[in-house]
């Protein structure tokens, strides 16, 4: 079990990480999400021991690893650019960690074959890594990182340098491999769908701080802040005021507030999937259709209500009026509106 305690790191006085606390349980795959520049890679390097924190501790099963050099931590790291050794062939790359651990040659050979079979590259032992395609290099890098059975495997945007189609195919494989091996992992990515596909839990980094750590569904259903909501593509965020009378004042009108929120200025999140056409729900809005996008089973509609724009998702069998026409939306405010702290 990995524990990070109050990790701080700054470069030339510019803070990059500001008090990170995080726990990764044994066998768990944790995705670390965040826009570029949010400190994901720095955090990974600190856990790996490639960089030292200015403050804070890295613990494994309670033992302090902060001062332990990278090669004695028993952690694995799969680099975004794979960093395969160009002077070693596929087998030589996968065997490297095993050789460093002092495995006997016969055992190394068996393990290499096993790992290559696991990543779907059986029989690739003698190939030169420089002659492999991007996807194949990615698999070799994964096999190399997995082979010594690291206590913790870190993957730094492992699919980042691959094209989109290949990425979609490999992220499923990757998730299956990590879970089959019960591999404790931290998976860094900036792509939320990749995180959903691979991870048990996801942590969202924002400007050096962890904005939220939760299971993917929970992250999506209950974003902790406007930043999290925006990052996950939930764009209907409106400034509001929560009164003492538990009424939420928004540009779209006054609605009963969900319980538990403190009065004052807030952000109101209108969930895109909580609206229906027509006038038979507890609350109604009248607006004008200004855009629509067909997305297979769903239809994404842009609706302007006065000065405000809403993006909503409807089943694609719904018949929308032509663009520019007025329409009515109905929704249940309790289900559709979430109150988030003002940012």
């Amino acid at each position: 079990m990995l524990n990070l305690e109050n990790i701080h790191k700054a470069y030339n006085g510019v803070p990059v990480l500001q008090g990170i606390d995080l726990q990764v349980d044994t066998g768990e795959v944790l995705a670390l999400l965040g826009p570029s520049g949010s400190g994901k890679s720095t955090l990974l390097n600190i856990i790996a021991g490639l960089e030292t924190p200015d403050q804070g501790r890295v613990l494994w099963d309670g033992a302090d690893l902060t001062e332990v050099p990278p090669h004695r931590r028993g952690f694995g790291l799969m680099f975004q650019d794979f960093a395969l050794f160009p002077h070693r062939n596929v087998a030589g790359n996968v065997a490297f960690g095993l050789q460093m651990a002092g495995w006997r040659p016969g055992r190394v050979e068996r393990r290499v074959a096993e790992m290559l079979a696991l990543v779907g590259l059986g029989g690739f032992e003698r190939r030169e890594v420089t002659a492999l395609s991007g996807g194949e290099q990615q698999r070799v890098a994964l096999a190399r990182a997995l082979a010594p059975q690291p206590r913790l495997l870190m993957l730094d945007e492992p699919l980042g340098s691959l094209d989109r189609a290949l990425r979609a195919r490999l992220q499923g494989d990757l998730a299956a491999i990590l879970h089959a091996a019960d591999q404790t992992s931290i998976y860094v990515t900036h792509d939320q769908e990749e995180a959903y596909a691979v991870a048990d839990r996801a942590g969202l980094l924002n400007a050096g701080e962890l904005a939220q750590v939760a299971a993917p569904e929970q992250l999506y259903r209950q974003p902790a802040s406007a930043f999290v909501a925006r990052f996950l593509g939930l764009s209907n965020l409106l400034p509001g005021e929560l009164g003492d009378d538990a009424v939420l004042q928004t540009p779209l009108g006054r609605f009963p507030a969900p319980s538990g929120a403190a009065p004052g200025p807030v952000m109101a999140l209108f969930r895109p999937d909580a609206f229906a056409l027509g006038e038979h729900g507890p609350a109604q809005l009248r607006g004008e259709l200004v855009g629509k996008q067909f997305r297979g089973s769903q239809l994404q509609a842009e609706i302007s209500v006065g000065e405000t724009r809403l993006t909503i998702e409807l089943p694609s069998k719904v018949n929308l009026p032509p663009l520019g026409q007025p329409l009515s939306l109905s929704f249940d405010p309790v289900e559709a509106i979430q109150v988030l702290p003002h940012d």
Partner: protein, 571 residues
């Protein structure tokens, strides 16, 4: 910063900077500075010293001949090389790559080998004259080649044709042929296309190649000395003559200064030109599909290329064969020997042909050369490795930007000038190295340093910090990282550098001719002495020694070529 590879401490870094800088200061700038002081010794400024030497008609004609032979050699080289460059660039021909490879061989051979090779082919005891004499029962060799102006010119073309072939040919090949086709479609005849379109487009490449050839001809030493003979003097041979025969160091110093100024100006010009070459104007995105020649054209081209191949091959083959065929003794010699193949000359390499106390045997010269080459490898790597590391890892530092051109300076300085500088500067306190066995390796290291640094720097640069981190994450401690990642990746480049240093050292003649001690001649110095001696036995020894030297350098260069092709790049 990554903690896996700790940044070296300041003191260590300073030491790394100092090593190449001190080396250059002591063994490049100090000797050249001493030449400058010596030439200004007689009072008056630089201009007065030059004027004094040029006041003598003899020295004026030396300067004049240096330019004249270089110009003529360059024009001839262009005349021989340009048609080949055009054929290689535009047409699909069999034997193209063979010609390209063959033409490169002379370029890397030591001058003494080339001189000996032409002697073996066209000299008085060469194949052509021997054949003519036995065929037509002539009493004397009919072809006078050695000690003629023609010999200098032919050897220079032999040496430098590859520059025109490669530099101009490659540029030509990348020129978009559609431009020429467009000119044809607008009504231009082929010769008009060449004059008005191709030639102007090629101009920068042509000028760069011509200038480079000119620089090499201008500083050519061994060829002029051995093939030109005593009647022809260039700045280089005159410096050598003034130093070794007349001991007139002040005059030699002024000549060296003159030489230095000329080469520096020419090199600066070349650098500017080649910078323009790297910004091509109208190049094809991919290499244009080569065309095929008609039947008549194929015949002509084939004939021309065959002659070129013979030109590049015959002196070298002639040399090798000469070293293993028995020579008919000259008139006046009583000993009668038959013709045929023999290894006598190789067997006799251990014998002193002259019984002179200052005259080492060929096998001793081989030993000396190999020892010096070993010393050169050690010194040039010891200086070149830190320099290359600094250039590779601290690209942005002011020091790197200064060091880079400084390291290339020896390349633009003639070896004879370097040798003279060593004689002038390093023969008295504070640095008296006259009797030091390191003197020759130090001079050779200076010549080898640019090659060493140029092959090490990219290799060191190609090791991304990521690879070291990856190794550390797989459990490799810093020592294992060095052994399993750094060394294997730089190993090849180290080997290439060592081979360069070796090849430079065993073949170097200009500096060695001045500073090698008489009782410890290097291989080229001894070949020079042997070629100057009468007698079939010494001649055979010279041929055998030259053949060995050709093999040494040839194998070295072959290894370099092979190792470099498989160089580690980024992927």
């Amino acid at each position: 910063m990554d903690a896996a590879v700790k940044p070296p401490r300041k003191a260590l870094l300073a030491l790394l900077w100092l090593l190449p800088l001190v080396f250059l200061a002591l063994f490049y700038f100090y000797p050249l500075g001493s030449i400058l002081t010596l030439s200004l010794q007689r009072g008056g400024g630089l201009g007065q010293a030059v004027a004094a030497v040029l006041g003598s008609p003899a020295q004026r004609s030396v300067l004049g001949f240096t330019f004249w032979q270089a110009t003529l050699s360059t024009l001839l080289t262009l005349a021989v090389g340009l048609p080949a460059a055009w054929l290689l660039a535009r047409y699909q021909l069999r034997g193209k790559s063979l010609l390209r490879a063959l033409s490169g061989i002379p370029f890397v051979l030591p001058t003494l080998v080339v001189a000996a090779a032409f002697d073996a082919l066209l000299g008085p005891r060469g194949w052509v004259n021997q054949a003519a004499m036995s065929l037509f029962q002539l009493p004397a060799p009919p072809l006078q080649f050695v000690n003629t102006f023609g010999a200098i010119l032919v050897a220079h073309v032999f040496y430098n044709a590859t520059i025109v072939l490669r530099l101009v040919g490659d540029f030509w090949g990348r020129l978009n042929p559609r431009i020429e086709q467009a000119a044809r479609s607008l009504g231009a005849a082929p010769w008009q296309v060449f004059l008005r379109i191709s030639l102007p487009l090629l101009a920068p490449a042509l000028a760069a190649a011509a200038l480079l050839v000119f620089i090499f001809n201008f500083t050519s030493f061994g060829v002029v000395l051995v093939l030109g003979g005593p009647r022809f003097a260039t700045l280089e041979t005159e410096i050598y003559y003034q130093t070794t025969a007349l001991f007139n160091l002040p005059v030699a110093a002024v000549l060296a200064l003159l030489q230095l100024l000329c080469t520096l100006a020419l090199t600066a010009l070349y650098t500017r030109l080649s910078a323009r070459l790297s910004r091509p104007l109208e190049l094809a995105s991919t290499r244009a599909a080569p065309r095929r020649l008609g039947a008549g054209g194929r015949l002509l081209a084939g004939l021309y290329l065959a002659v070129l191949v013979a030109f590049f091959l015959s002196p070298l083959l002639g040399l090798g064969l000469r070293s293993i065929s028995r020579l008919t003794p000259e008139r006046g010699q009583t000993q009668v020997q038959g013709g045929g193949l023999t290894l006598d000359y190789y067997r006799s390499l251990g014998e002193d042909p002259r019984d002179n106390i200052f005259f080492a045997t060929p096998s001793q010269a081989i030993q000396t050369s190999l020892l010096y080459a070993g010393g050169t490898i050690l010194v040039s790597l010891a200086v070149g490795l830190p320099a290359a590391w600094l250039l590779a890892t601290r690209q942005q530092d002011l020091g790197s930007r200064l060091l880079d051109p400084l390291l290339m300076l020896p390349l633009g300085t003639s070896a004879v000038t370097l040798g003279l500088g060593f004689i002038v500067a390093l023969n008295r306190p504070p640095l008296d190295l006259r009797t030091s066995p390191l003197l020759v390796p130090l001079a050779h290291s200076l010549v080898a340093l640019p090659f060493v640094v140029r092959s090490l720097t990219p290799a060191l640069r190609s090791i991304r910090p990521r690879l070291r981190q990856a190794a550390a994450m797989l459990g490799a401690d810093p020592g294992q990282v060095l052994r399993h990642v750094d060394l294997p990746l730089v190993g090849r480049a180290l080997l290439v550098s060592a081979l360069f240093a070796f090849a430079v050292s065993v073949g170097e003649f200009g500096a060695s001719a001045l500073i090698a001690r008489p009782e410890y001649p290097t291989i080229p110095v001894l070949i020079f002495r042997l070629l100057g001696q009468p007698g079939a036995q010494t001649y055979g020894q010279a041929m055998a020694l030259s053949t060995l030297l050709m093999l040494f350098t040839g194998v070295g260069m072959l290894l370099i070529e092979r190792l470099r092709i498989a160089d580690v790049g980024e992927f």
